[in-house]
Assembly symmetry: C2
C-alpha cells in the first residue's frame, strides 16, 4: 500500500492496526546517497566503533526518502502469515514556515540508480510525508504558544508596540507610506470600504502584492478599520502571497479568530510531525524489527525520526536498544551457521531465490487486496515496501529451517523462539574481515590482529614494494589507507613475531608498527586533540589516518595489483587459507555489486570499487 501525504491521515489507523497485530515487522529504506566523497565506509579492518563513526560522519547528511514497512501477522488457524506492506514516501518539506528548511546531500549515482528502478522523485517532492523529530516538534509548539501569547498582549496597544509585544520600552510608530505606494494602498482601502458597506460576502481576497505592500496594508487597514476586519496572508497556487480580509463583529470575534488561528497552527504542526508517528508506534509496539543489512537503515531511522545520533558509540547502542529493543538482520543470519554453507549469495534478491528452494521451503504468505497484492507475482526490487516484504519472506524461510532442529521439529518457528536468540540485536557489517557483526547488547568481538602491521612509506611506493618488503613472511593482504600508508596482514599468522624484529630498522624509507601500537597511538592523538581544545566529535573526517581514503594513488591503481590484494583472498596461495571463509569473504565483499540497493541507494563508490576490482580486464587473450 502506497502512503503519501495525500492519504496519510486516512492510512495511519490501518498502519497502526497492522503494526499492533503483527508477529514481527520488517523495514527497509532508500536513501539519496551512501557515502560522502573520499570516505570509504567499509575498511576491512574497522572496529565496530570505527564503522559507526564512519557511517555517522559519511552517511547521515543524506536523506531517507522511502521507508518500507511490512507487518507480518501470523494466522494460527491457517498456519500461514498475512503480510501488509506499506510504502511511505517521506520528505522534509518545510510544511509550515516555522518548520526547519533542511539541507541534505545527494549522490549522483544513487539518484541515477533509483530513477532507473522506477523511483518517482516528483511524487517524493510533491507528495512525500513530512516528519519532525520530537525535539523539533517541541520547539515549534513552544514557538506557536509564544506567538499566540504575544498577539493577545498586543490587543491592548495596537499600532504602538512592535508585534512581539516584548520590548514595550521602545514604542515604535507606523512606517510612513512611500509616495509611489500610496495610490495602491488607497485603492485597496476603497475596495475594503466598499466590501464592508456594499457586499454580503464574508471574505474579500486582495490581489497578490509584495511583502512590503502587505506590511503597509496590515498597518493601514488596521488603523482604518479597527475591530471591523481581520486580515490574513495566504499563499496562492503558484506560491504568490495575497491578503484575505474577513468581516468581524468586534474585538471578541477577533480574539476568537486568533484562538482559531492557534488551533490551525497546532493542526498544521500535527501534519508536519507526519511519518514520525508511524515510527513512534513501531517503537512503542516493542515488536521484533527485521531488516536486511540494516545497520545504515537503523542509523537513518534513529537520526531522522528520533534523536540526534550520539557521538559516543556506546550511547548509540543504548539509544538503539531503547528505541528498538529487538532487531534482527537477515543478512547476518544468512552469513552465520547453519545458513552460511547453504547460502552462497546473501544479497536480498539472491537470498530470496535461494531460500525458495531446497533445503529451504517457500513459506505460504498472503497479501490482502489493497496492500500490494501484486508483490506476490511481480518483482519490484528497491521499492522499499517490496524489499521489506521479501526480507520477511527470507526471515520466515530461514526461521522455519531452524525449526527442523527443534525437538520435536516444528514447521513454523515463531519469531520469539529461543532458537532465534543468537541472531537478535546483532547487525551485519559489510566487508569486515574478522568481525562478523556489531553487537548492540553487549561488548563487540575483539579478534586478535597481531598479524596486522601499519606501514608508512614514500608516495612513490606501489603494491609491489610492499610485497617485496614482506616477502620473507609469506603472502600478505594490503589495506590501503592513503597514498603513504596501509595495513599489511600476513596470511601466515605464525610469522607475525619475526616481522618487527626483521623490518623495524633505522634508516629505512618506511616505518612499521604493530596494529595494536598504531591504534594505541591513535587514541592518544585523539586525547591530546581533545585536551588541546580540538573537538573529537568533528562531523567531517580531517585526518587521513582515521579512514580508508580512496586516494589518487588508489585511483591510479585501479587497474593495479593493489586492490586485488586488499582483500582477504590471498591470490598467491589460496589453498593455504580456509577455502570456505575465503569464498565467504569474497562473496560478502562482492555481493554489494550485485544488489546495489542493499546499502541502500544504488551504485556507491564501494560498489564501483568492487566492480573495478573484479572487472578491470574488460578484454584479454
Amino acid at each position: 500500500m502506497e502512503v503519501t501525504r495525500t492519504n496519510f491521515a486516512e492510512s495511519i489507523e490501518i498502519v497502526t492496526e497492522a503494526i499492533q497485530e503483527a508477529s514481527f515487522i520488517t523495514i527497509d529504506g532508500e536513501f539519496t546517497g551512501l557515502n560522502i566523497s573520499g570516505l570509504n565506509h567499509t575498511g576491512p579492518l574497522d572496529t565496530p566503533e570505527e564503522r559507526y563513526h564512519k557511517l555517522l560522519q559519511g552517511s547521515t547528511d543524506f536523506l531517507l526518502i522511502q521507508v518500507g514497512i511490512c507487518a507480518f501477522i501470523y494466522d494460527g488457524s491457517a498456519k500461514r502469515y498475512t503480510a501488509k506492506p506499506f510504502n511511505f514516501y517521506v520528505f522534509p518539506r518545510p510544511y509550515t514556515r516555522h518548520a526547519p528548511d533542511r539541507r541534505f546531500l545527494c549522490q549522483s549515482s544513487s539518484l541515477d540508480f533509483l530513477v532507473s528502478q522506477g523511483f518517482d522523485f516528483n511524487k517524493l517532492f510533491r507528495e512525500g510525508i513530512s516528519y519532525l523529530t520530537p525535539t523539533e516538534e517541541k520547539s515549534i509548539r513552544e514557538e506557536i504558544e509564544q506567538r499566540h501569547l504575544q498577539h493577545q498582549q498586543s490587543f491592548y496597544s495596537p499600532g504602538l508596540t512592535s508585534p512581539d509585544g516584548g520590548d514595550q520600552a521602545v514604542p515604535k510608530g507606523p512606517i510612513a507610506i512611500p509616495e509611489e505606494h500610496s495610490e495602491f494602498i488607497n485603492s485597496i482601502c476603497c475596495k475594503v470600504e466598499d466590501f464592508l458597506t456594499n457586499s454580503e460576502d464574508e471574505t474579500l481576497e486582495l490581489p497578490p502584492c509584495t511583502a512590503f505592500q502587505r506590511k503597509l496594508l496590515y498597518q493601514t487597514l488596521g488603523t482604518k478599520f479597527p475591530n471591523e476586519i481581520h486580515v490574513q496572508s495566504k499563499s496562492g497556487e503558484k506560491n504568490q502571497r495575497f491578503l484575505v480580509v474577513t468581516r468581524m463583529k468586534g474585538e471578541e470575534e477577533l480574539k476568537q479568530r486568533e484562538d482559531q488561528k492557534q488551533q490551525e497552527d497546532f493542526d498544521e504542526l500535527d501534519r508536519a510531525v507526519g511519518f514520525t508517528k508511524v515510527m513512534k508506534v513501531i517503537s512503542q509496539s516493542g515488536k521484533m524489527i527485521v531488516g536486511h543489512n540494516m545497520l545504515l537503515d537503523l542509523i537513518h531511522l534513529l537520526g531522522h525520526f528520533f534523536y540526534p545520533l550520539p557521538e559516543s558509540y556506546e550511547e548509540f547502542k543504548l539509544m538503539a536498544r531503547c528505541i528498538f529493543p529487538r532487531l534482527l538482520d537477515t543478512k547476518l543470519m544468512a552469513n552465520t551457521q547453519p545458513f552460511k554453507e547453504k547460502i552462497l549469495m546473501s544479497g536480498l534478491s539472491d537470498l530470496k531465490k535461494t531460500v525458495e528452494q531446497e533445503p529451504f521451503c517457500k513459506p505460504d504468505i498472503v497479501i490482502p487486496e489493497g496492500f500490494g497484492h501484486h508483490y506476490m507475482e511481480t518483482e519490484q526490487l528497491h521499492e522499499a515496501a517490496y524489499d521489506a516484504f521479501i526480507t520477511g519472506q527470507c526471515f520466515i524461510s530461514m526461521s522455519n529451517y531452524l525449526g527442523k532442529f527443534q525437538d520435536p521439529p516444528v514447521v513454523i518457528l515463531p519469531p520469539a523462539s529461543p532458537l532465534l536468540e543468537p541472531f537478535v540485536n546483532k547487525l551485519f557489517m559489510m566487508r569486515l574481515i574478522d568481525i562478523p557483526y556489531m553487537d548492540l547488547t553487549g561488548p563487540d568481538l575483539k579478534p586478535t590482529r597481531d598479524h596486522v602491521f601499519h606501514v608508512t612509506f614514500p608516495a612513490t611506493w606501489r603494491a609491489s614494494d610492499l610485497y617485496q618488503l614482506f616477502s620473507p613472511f609469506g603472502n600478505i593482504h594490503i589495506t590501503w589507507l592513503d597514498d603513504v600508508s596501509s595495513f599489511v596482514s600476513l596470511t601466515k599468522k605464525e610469522s607475525a613475531d619475526s616481522v618487527m624484529k626483521s623490518l623495524c630498522k633505522k634508516g629505512t624509507p618506511y616505518r612499521i608498527t604493530t596494529y595494536d601500537e598504531f591504534k594505541r597511538r591513535g587514541k592518544e592523538r585523539n586525547k591530546r586533540q581533545t585536551s588541546s581544545g580540538h573537538s573529537v566529535s568533528k562531523k567531517r573526517p580531517s585526518s587521513p589516518e582515521d579512514f580508508d581514503i580512496p586516494s589518487k594513488k588508489q585511483k591510479s591503481l585501479n587497474v593495479n595489483a593493489a586492490p586485488f590484494q586488499s582483500r582477504s583472498t590471498p591470490t598467491n596461495t589460496p589453498e593455504k587459507s580456509d577455502p570456505g571463509s575465503t569464498a565467504r569473504e569474497e562473496e560478502s565483499m562482492t555481493t554489494a555489486g550485485e544488489e546495489q540497493g542493499e546499502g541502500d541507494a544504488g551504485t556507491s563508490s564501494q560498489v564501483e570499487n568492487a566492480e573495478t576490482m573484479f572487472e578491470v580486464p574488460e578484454a584479454w587473450e
Copy 2:
C-alpha cells in the same frame, strides 16, 4: 526547445547556430538550493568581496539543474527580434564509471518550490545532460589512454601479470576457484564451448552473475579459449551486470577489438562532456550575455562548466571577464537611473509587466515554431528558458527606452550601443544598502561607513538595549551578526563623530568599535590564521564574526523589533531620511519574497526572513 540527453546530439548544431547568429544571449539557471543552513548570503553591509566569499562558501555545493539559454537574433529588415529559447536539463550522472560521482546539496524548500512550478525531477535524473569541466575531461582522457596502453602490454603475458601490466616484478597466479562456484563456472565453460562449435551467432550473452563470478569467468575463459573469444562486461536494463562473449579470429582481431573499445571509451567521454560544449560555444562567441540578478547564475556556470572557483575575489573577476567578456544584469539596469523611478518592483515577472506598459513599449519578438512558441502566450515562470526569454524581452524594452535619449532617437537600440556601456559587467547585489553592484572590470565602490559601528554585548541583550544605548544619536539600524554582536548604523550620519567619545568607556557590558577598525582587525585576524598554518580558504564558515548567522537569538526574535530595524528604513523617523532611496531599499529587499525563484531556487531562508519580517502580524485589531 527542450533539450535532454535524448536529443542533445541532434540539437547541438541548432544551438550552436543560434548562438553564433545571435545579437545577444540571455541565460538563467535553476538550482537545488540557495544557501547552506546558518549562512545568510545577504548582509546589508557586505563588501562585494565578502558577498563573493559568502556565495562561494554557501551556494556552490548546490547543483545547477536547469539552464535556460535564449538567443536573440535581430532581423534588420523586419525590425524585430527572433528569439530561440533552449531549456536544458543538466545532471552530472556518472556517465561512465570513470566519471566523477558527484555529491551535492539540496534545500528542501527549493525542491518543494521547483516541483510546485512544474519542474520534472524524474526527467532531470533520467534525461539530464551530463557535463564535465575541462579538467575532469582531460584526466579521464588520460586514464583511458593509459588503460589502453596497459592492455596492449598485457597481451604478451596473459594470466601471469596482473591486468595493470605495471608491476611485472610480482607475477601473480590465477585465483583458485572456490568449490561452491566450480559447478557454475564449469556450466558456463560448456556453454561457451557449445557456442564456439555449434552456434552461428557472433555473440553469446551469459546470465547475470556476481562481480566475483565474473572475475572467475574472465580468468577461466581466458585460459581455456585463448584468442578464440573476447569477453566484455555489460549492464542490463535493471543495472545488473553480465558478460558477453564474442567470437574472435585470433590475436589480431582481439587487438582490433581493443582499439575499437578505446574508441568507444572516447565516444562515451565525448557524450559525458555534454552540456559543457554549449557553454564553450557561448564563451567563445564573445556575445553579450544578459541575465536577471545573475551573480549566482554566473558563479554556478563558471564553477560547473569551466574551472574551480578561485578563493581570491580578484581572480574570480578575472576569470569571469575571460570567460564572459560582456555581461549585463537587467535587475541592475532596472534599479539604476533612468529606470529606477519608473520600475517599482524589479522582480523578473513584475519587471516584465512594467516594461510592457508606458513609458516603455512591448517589443515585437518572434519565437519560431518548434522553439517554445507557446512562451508567447503562456507564462511559465521559473522554467529556465522562459525566464531567459522574458529577461531578453525586458532587456530590449529597457534598451529601446534608452534609444529615446539618443540624438537622433532610435526605436531599437542595438546591444552594442554606447548607451548600454554604463551597465556592462556590473552585477546586481541583493539587499546591499550602499553598494549597488559588483564591478567585474574595475575596483568596486567603497562608500564611507563612518556612521557604522560594531558592537558586542551580552547574549541577553535585545534590540531595545541597543536602541537605548544609541538613543542620544537619533535613530539606528541594527544588522545582527550573531547572539552577541551586531552592526549599528546611524540614520543621522553627522552624529557619527560623537559616538566613540560617548560610548567607548571602561566597565561597560558592551564593546564598541568603528566599522573600519573592525574590518582592519578582521583582516589581521585572517593574516595571523594564515601564518599560523590555518587555511583562510576553508570551505565552510567557522567563525561567527565572519558572517550574518541567523542565530537562536534571531529566531527567538522573529516576531521581534530587531528584524524591522535591521533594514534601511528607520521606522521611527522615516521623514528624515531620503524617501526615494528608502522605498527603493525596501523594495529591492522584499522583491525576493515575490519572485522566489530569482536567486533562483525558490523559497530561501532569506525569503523566509523577508516574509517573517513583514508578515508576522497575521492578525491585528
